[in-house]
Symmetry: C2
Subunit: 338 residues, 2 copies
């Protein structure tokens, strides 16, 4: 597929000790991909081992002297740290040297820098952050996840387009179904923005399913669930909390007595298979959508497996024309309107 | 505790075959409580067995000729079905014959009827629906859950007061902690209503913790989580969907081979204990707060165990002066303001 991923090696809770080995593993499993490791050379080089021999021109290090901290305000990170590993990685996408950038750093800073450097696509007012979650039927993509707190109906429509094109690119689905997150029929009062967004989506030419509710995310009713960033963030964080609690309860019950501990050992293969199906590391790598370039945000706490998944997802998005798909779709929608 | 619960026996997916046996069981476990079974006599009486002998004056049937359907628009249910079991149950609270009403019927209709018949308490603009959820540390109460879609900061403040008083009454906590549902620090843009609500809650005299995120619901960071009805509904439904998916995955993994099936049999006591801790039936019974009377909504699909829990929760709220607590607190807040 010949993609080149610019990797912010300094971002995230663990930095190079996770991002560099994950990059090497990514190059092993993607023999046609290349990687540019961005960050402090003295932190990256010792972790490369014989990578130059193994991968040759497919790997190179790009020095960047600064690091965006997790608590840097986005505006500060953007203005005062022009040689940060995050900024340089995004600059490489802008310059056409990389097909995508991946960072486990500060979300707000990554969004601000990406937006400033790459700019939004025609017809897109605001970039959004999407995530993929497991469902009973496969995967569900949800956006926005916190970039946009107060959204108009037009914004939600644009999220629908971006989400559908993301699924088309990554999951190779022709006409992904799109649902609009709403609340039960039995509710006294609807939300005007959501009602209007429903109208827009119905007339968008997308494969619009209609309203969905929170449970539909995990039931896999649709491929893409559209909501504003506040609601999306709450849905995601609530899910994380519930999954952790369920895992902790399950562990506690299996640890209760010697007998149940023995049972747990016997049941380990089953519990491991189960765990793998809901392992959030498999779902790491949230695309920033609506930009003139592919940028993915990895979870800050990502380990090697998780960060590697973000890299693979970035390669998939870049090699399947994600940006072109979104801009073509936006253009054709605007033609219909005009 | 001497409370009398008016039970809408016709509501819910199952009607009297669930509500009547649950009522009898409730009377057995609450020897000082009484029940008024409201609905069609011909549907209720055959299910009573020797209840009149067993409970004497503690049980009686109040005939109501109509039934609110799950798909009746709230306004229609209110105007055209004045002799519905739901309406009569709420009327009994208004008349002082019952200390609380419980229904598994149509939420919108129950809210509309309760609001019309009972009216809101002084200082409360809109009633809210609260639910209790399991957490790593015990229970978390969340409101609103869908009654109020567009909320002002003042509404969120009122939800905080109602939630805190609910926990004080039901969990016997002196100064329940209250959190305001918001999204991560690392987000580009805040939500103005939530920011303003934070200010109001900080100055309310409540034990205000500050902002919380979705995961805090299940981590048990605070006793009460306040949010608007759209967000609360999405958080709840998303949780339901995720819990169902996790349960289904766990079941599938244990059913994969003969060996894993045998394991499941051996592990049954562990799995049952686990299941009991996250059993949503234990958390059934969502109080409608802010009214001049105690009304609880049971899940429509509630079985006997679940409906019984809603009845117990109603008895607890009524016998611990829920309404008085809310109105006293609202009055003292308004005094401070004046």
């Amino acid at each position: 597929m010949g993609v080149t991923i610019a990797i912010d090696c300094m971002g995230g809770d663990h930095g190079p000790v996770v991002t560099v080995p994950a990059a090497l593993e990514f190059l092993r499993s993607h023999p046609q991909a290349s990687a540019i490791l961005v960050g402090r050379e003295e932190a990256i080089t010792p972790l490369l081992g014989n990578a130059n021999t193994e991968f040759g021109a497919r790997i190179r290090v790009r020095a960047a002297s600064e690091v965006v901290a997790m608590d840097d305000p986005p505006a500060i990170a953007m203005r005062n740290k022009k040689d940060s590993s995050m900024r340089v990685a995004v600059d490489l996408v802008k310059a056409g040297e990389a097909s995508a950038a991946v960072s486990a750093g500060n979300t707000g800073a990554l969004m601000a820098i990406s937006r400033f450097v790459l700019k939004t696509l025609p017809g897109i007012d605001r970039p959004a952050i999407a995530t993929v979650l497991p469902s009973m039927k496969g995967h569900t993509y949800v956006l926005d996840l916190g970039a946009n707190v107060d959204c108009s109906a037009e914004h939600l429509l644009q999220f629908g387009v971006m989400g559908a094109m993301l699924v088309a690119a990554i999951e190779h689905k022709d006409r992904p179904s799109v649902g609009l997150l709403n609340i039960g029929e039995e509710v006294i009062k609807g939300n005007d923005v959501v009602k209007e967004a429903g109208e827009l989506l119905r007339n968008s030419g997308l494969n619009f399913y209609g309203n969905v509710e929170g449970n539909d995310i995990y039931e896999g009713t649709v491929d893409v669930v559209v909501c504003d960033g506040f609601v999306g963030n709450v849905a995601l964080k609530t899910s994380e909390g519930l999954a952790q609690m369920i895992g902790a309860f399950l562990k506690q019950e299996f640890k209760r007595t010697l007998f149940t501990k023995l049972l747990a050992v016997a049941a380990m293969p089953v519990l491991k298979r189960f765990k793998k199906r809901v392992d959030h590391r498999l779902y790491n790598g949230a695309p920033l959508l609506g930009l003139r370039g592919v940028v993915l945000k990895s979870h800050g706490s990502a380990d090697m497996l998780a960060f590697g998944n973000a890299l693979s997802r970035a390669a998939e998005a870049a090699s399947n024309r994600l940006i072109e798909r979104i801009s073509e779709r936006m253009a054709s929608m605007n033609e219909v309107k005009a």
